[in-house]
């Protein structure tokens, strides 16, 4: 009996491997830099949580696939896409023409804008009024690109946005630019910082976030788009906005 079972095992395995893709839902590995609250972060139980995470899980449920998240440092997150370490990136990635040249994007799933955070004593409300000062941003983000555009302002790039805020608390830089939801967390909610920082002015860019995949992966883009459209139609994204962004 045992021998018969042993003989049958490879056959069984073979059958399963052929049938399983049709039975079990397809799994997509997605990279995220979980240092960008409230969009993606690591909670006290070491789980990756946030708006992006909930959104993609909801989209996956609608379109019938599974997601495995991989916490990846932002600097090089696109390089991992090139080398096939994961299938997609959801990490508050703004859809920009430069990025579209190298990668493909899903439909936009949320809008955001860059905003300036400064120490409470600072009077300036725009980057252009901060000439001669050092402003921080995370490396390779649209925030960093915006600072670079302004003449006379020195850009300092950080691996994580939290390090930029800590450096501003230490007085080494005079401003930080990041996405509005993240700015709200750091400037208005963190208890170490809310007495020290304030948000200067209004968001000064209009950006749309998309899920980023390797160039030419049309099939994955259409799968993701199917999920995104369904989530928006059912207004699940509105619930998620209430949960994470207010």
């Amino acid at each position: 009996m045992k021998k018969l079972l042993l003989l049958l095992l490879p056959v069984l395995a073979l059958t399963l491997s052929v049938v399983s893709p049709a039975l079990a839902a397809r799994t997509i590995t997605v990279a995220t830099d979980a240092t960008w609250p409230p969009m993606e972060m690591v909670d006290a139980n070491k789980n990756i949580v946030g708006y992006d995470i909930d959104f993609l899980n909801a989209a996956a449920k609608e379109a019938g696939f599974k997601v495995v998240f991989k916490n990846t440092a932002w600097d090089g997150i696109f390089a991992g896409l090139d080398s096939g370490q994961y299938d997609a990136v959801i990490s508050s990635v703004t859809i920009t023409p430069e990025r579209q040249k190298k990668y493909d994007f899903s439909l936009p799933y949320i809008d955001a804008g860059q905003i300036l955070v400064v120490p409470k004593s600072e009077r300036a409300t725009r980057l252009a009024d901060m000439k001669g000062k050092k402003i921080g941003a995370q490396i390779g983000t649209t925030g960093a690109f915006e600072i670079k555009k302004v003449n006379g302002v020195e850009l300092k790039t950080y691996d994580e946005i939290g390090l930029a805020f800590e450096d501003m608390a230490a007085g080494r830089i005079q401003g930080v630019v990041c996405d509005e939801p993240t700015a709200i967390i750091y400037a208005l909610q963190k208890k170490e910082y809310k007495a020290k920082f304030k948000i200067a002015g209004k968001p000064f860019t209009k950006e749309a976030y998309g899920i980023c995949v390797k160039k030419g992966n049309k099939e994955l883009v259409s799968l993701l788009n199917r999920g995104i459209t369904a989530v928006k139609k059912k207004k699940i994204d509105q619930q998620l906005k209430k949960k994470w962004l207010k």
Binding site: D75, G76, F78, A79, D82, E98, R99, K102, G136, I139, G140, A144, F145, K156, T157, Y158, D159, L163, A164, E166, D167, A169, A170, G171, R172
Partner: protein, 261 residues
């Protein structure tokens, strides 16, 4: 059983192999690597100016920062190291204990952790500009290694030198200052040179502090252009050319010192 057997010692530095004519294999390897790196970098820039020339134009201010951090840190580390080294050979138990504690603690913590710690710890209490914080962080770490170099250097000076100085009526500290330490300086020069190269390479770690050194400039370029492979090829070649240049320089210095003996 083997108490009388002389202990075999091997010397391996963490900096770079110093090419001398005594080690012909290394000498040849140095030539191939150094001129090879320059040739590859030159050819890439010529054959594919986009992106290689663009990268090369983007990073020079990073090289300047790398040098500033390295030179600043090595000078400060020499001072800290001399104090720590003197402390380690001191008869005063407090001085000896403090110096040993410093060396033990620092050597037990990874450099990357130390850099993070000192940079952000400094920021909590005093307002220190970023570049200076990075220099201090590197120097505090390398001061411990340098302290061990100085200790070994001082201990390598025959006891008779100190005894002779004491017989001449010098105090212990006078003997240290005028007789032992000046001789030790000659002995420690090659290992100090080696530490310099090690520090030059480790200075790339300060790029995590948003200090715009060579590596950070490269990362900034790559993160905007997505040319990761090309950018890090250039960055690696530049580091290689710089360290090989200095290892040669130190090799020449070493030969001069040995010739003078």
């Amino acid at each position: 059983m083997h108490e009388n057997e002389a202990k075999k010692q091997i010397e391996v530095g963490d900096g770079a192999a110093i090419p001398t004519k005594k080690d012909l294999g290394l000498f040849t390897a140095w030539r191939i690597a150094f001129f090879g790196a320059i040739a590859v970098l030159g050819w890439l820039t010529y054959a594919k100016p986009d992106p290689y020339l663009t990268i090369l134009k983007f990073v020079p201010d990073g090289i300047v920062v790398t040098f500033k951090v390295t030179v600043g840190a090595i000078l400060l580390a020499l001072v800290i190291g001399l104090i720590a080294g003197l402390g380690r050979v001191a008869n005063n138990r407090l001085a000896n204990g403090l110096a040993s504690l410093y060396v033990e603690v620092i050597r037990g913590i990874p450099l990357l952790v130390q850099i993070f710690y000192i940079y952000y710890a400094l920021g909590r209490f005093v307002k220190v500009p970023d570049m200076l914080s990075a220099i201090i962080a590197m120097a505090v770490c390398y001061g411990a290694y340098m302290g061990e170099v100085f200790r070994a250097g001082i201990q390598s000076i025959p006891k008779g030198q100190m005894e002779a100085a004491l017989t001449l009526g010098m105090t212990r500290s006078q003997a240290m200052r005028h007789v032992v330490v000046p001789q030790a300086f000659k002995v420690v020069l090659p290992p100090v040179g080696n530490e310099f190269i090690a520090l030059l390479k480790d200075s790339s770690l300060v790029s995590i502090l948003a200090v715009a050194d060579l590596l950070r400039r490269g990362r900034e370029f790559a993160s905007e252009s997505f040319t990761y492979f090309e950018t890090y090829t250039v960055i690696a070649l530049i580091y290689l050319i710089i360290t090989l240049f200095f290892s040669k320089l130190i090799g020449i210095m070493e030969e001069r010192i040995n010739a003078g003996r």
